[in-house]
């Protein structure tokens, strides 16, 4: 590459990518992904929703520090998406004017189950993952595998026993 091209090449690069940058600035990028959301509904004993109540969410890994803060909507609802990598109890505290309650939502991986009362999470739009082998201990898995192998061996021994019996029968018939 001669010195003339050494000077021209950077300008070519800048002009090409600079033009494309201006074009992207007017574009729209969208991404869609499925997440687990926890919806909390808070109401007073008389059924009135706790409107604009203070909400504090505590994650299981650091239960003393608020993980998220916000307020309920006009229907007393508050929706948040927990960090699925933090398994354990996610605690949601709702307070307003001296009234408050706290509810725990157990999260295991991507699996959420809701429970509670006055601040009850009404729905957890979760896709339940099949954890499969994760539910068995290593010893149980080894035993199940060994039992399967023994099934094959036992079956083979059974048929071997049957063949011998037939040959013994044939031998006894020939002797007669």
């Amino acid at each position: 590459m001669n010195s003339q091209w050494k000077i021209i090449f950077p300008f070519v690069v800048i002009s090409v990518f600079g033009a494309s940058t201006r074009a992207i600035a007017h574009g729209v990028r969208m991404q869609a992904r499925e997440t687990q959301a926890i919806e909390v509904n808070a109401e007073y004993d008389n059924g009135d929703p706790m409107v604009n109540a203070q909400v504090t969410v505590y994650a299981p890994n650091d239960p003393a520090t608020p993980w998220l803060e916000g307020t309920t909507d006009n229907n007393g609802n508050f929706v948040f998406t927990p960090d699925a990598s933090q398994s354990g109890n996610w605690s949601v505290q709702v307070r307003q004017a001296g009234h408050g309650s706290i509810v725990n939502v157990p999260i295991e991986g991507n699996q959420a189950q809701a429970g509670g009362d006055s601040a009850t999470p009404e729905s957890s739009t979760s896709r339940v993952m099949n954890t499969g082998a994760a539910n068995f201990t290593p010893l149980q898995i080894i035993l199940m595998g060994a039992a399967g192998v023994w099934g094959f061996i036992g079956t083979a021994l059974f048929f071997m026993r049957g063949n011998k019996t037939n040959s013994e029968l044939r031998r006894s018939e020939s002797q007669r």
Partner: protein, 286 residues
């Protein structure tokens, strides 16, 4: 030979099966008993404090307009116990505390004055327990029994102070000798309480909501707290020459309706911050 082989193989696979079958049931996904193999974690300290809130320390305006200030507000606490409950205890759903850890913070009887600020804090120290296992103490229970000595002797609570309204002043002493047992869930407030870390101190709070008894004059008359409150007028009606000293038994004979209302309200005044408790003797949740 083949029979021996079968017997041997059967024993090989039967033995671990028996071991597993006879082992303790374990819920799928439940953490295994790692605690047994781990070394004993360092301990912490757990305090339990009592708090009548600013209504006890600074006074309040009752639902019927009486300005009440307290000279003393004695509460007599006993058997104060903190728990690490899993699942978390909810006093409104019934059931019992499922304690993984249980710490008796106070096994005696302690009288505290909720009208006085305690050791630089709003709340008053009831008792503390050292060498408690770390973790989150998300349930608390305590009893209130008559004091055997001290300024509240014979009473579970003593409220003494002054009530003023439209130029009228009443000096009152209200003695309550009824026993209570409060079983509470997690503390609800500005900060999360009861999380003990190794070598550190955490606290829990037995909170007393006096607005359940006297109401809140700053709220409307149809506010739920005022609709259920006694106010002070029924007590003022029993005063003579600006003085009222009355016990619950005397109240029962002098004003059965006021006595009955008081009996219905008192089980609901025990809280943990804004968190609720169940009064075990009446199954009342407040």
């Amino acid at each position: 030979m083949r029979t021996q082989l079968l017997s041997l193989a059967g024993l090989i696979f039967l033995a671990p099966g028996i071991i597993i079958g006879c082992s303790v049931d374990q819920t799928p996904g439940e953490p295994q008993a790692q605690e047994q193999s781990q070394p004993q974690a360092a301990a912490g300290t757990l305090q339990v404090r009592a708090n009548g809130e600013e209504r006890a320390r600074e006074g309040l305006v009752s639902s019927d307009g009486w300005r009440i200030t307290f000279n003393n507000l004695y509460a007599n606490l006993a058997d104060v116990t903190a728990y690490q409950s899993e699942p978390a205890f909810n006093p409104e759903q019934g059931g019992e505390i499922q304690a993984e850890e249980k710490v008796v913070v106070l096994d005696q009887v302690q009288t505290v004055d909720l009208a006085q600020s305690g050791d630089g804090q709003d709340s008053v120290l009831v008792a503390e327990a050292s060498n408690v296992p770390p973790g989150q103490y998300n349930a608390l229970s305590w009893r209130m029994v008559p004091a055997t000595e001290g300024p509240a002797q014979g009473q579970t609570m003593v409220m003494s102070g002054t009530a003023e309204k439209e130029g009228q002043t009443i000096n009152f002493v209200l003695n309550i000798d009824r026993e209570f047992e409060y079983v509470c869930g997690e503390y609800v407030g500005d900060e999360r309480k009861g999380i003990v870390q190794a070598g550190d101190t955490a606290d829990l709070e037995a909170t007393f909501h006096l607005d359940h008894l006297f109401g809140d004059g700053e709220k409307s008359a149809d506010d739920p707290i005022n609709q259920g409150a006694l106010g002070f007028e029924p007590l003022a009606a029993l005063a003579q020459n600006g003085n009222l000293q009355i016990s619950t038994s005397e109240l029962q004979s002098q004003s059965p309706q006021t006595y009955q209302q008081l009996q219905e309200i008192l089980p609901s005044i025990g809280h943990v911050g804004e968190g609720h408790c169940r009064e075990a003797n009446t199954q009342t949740v407040g």
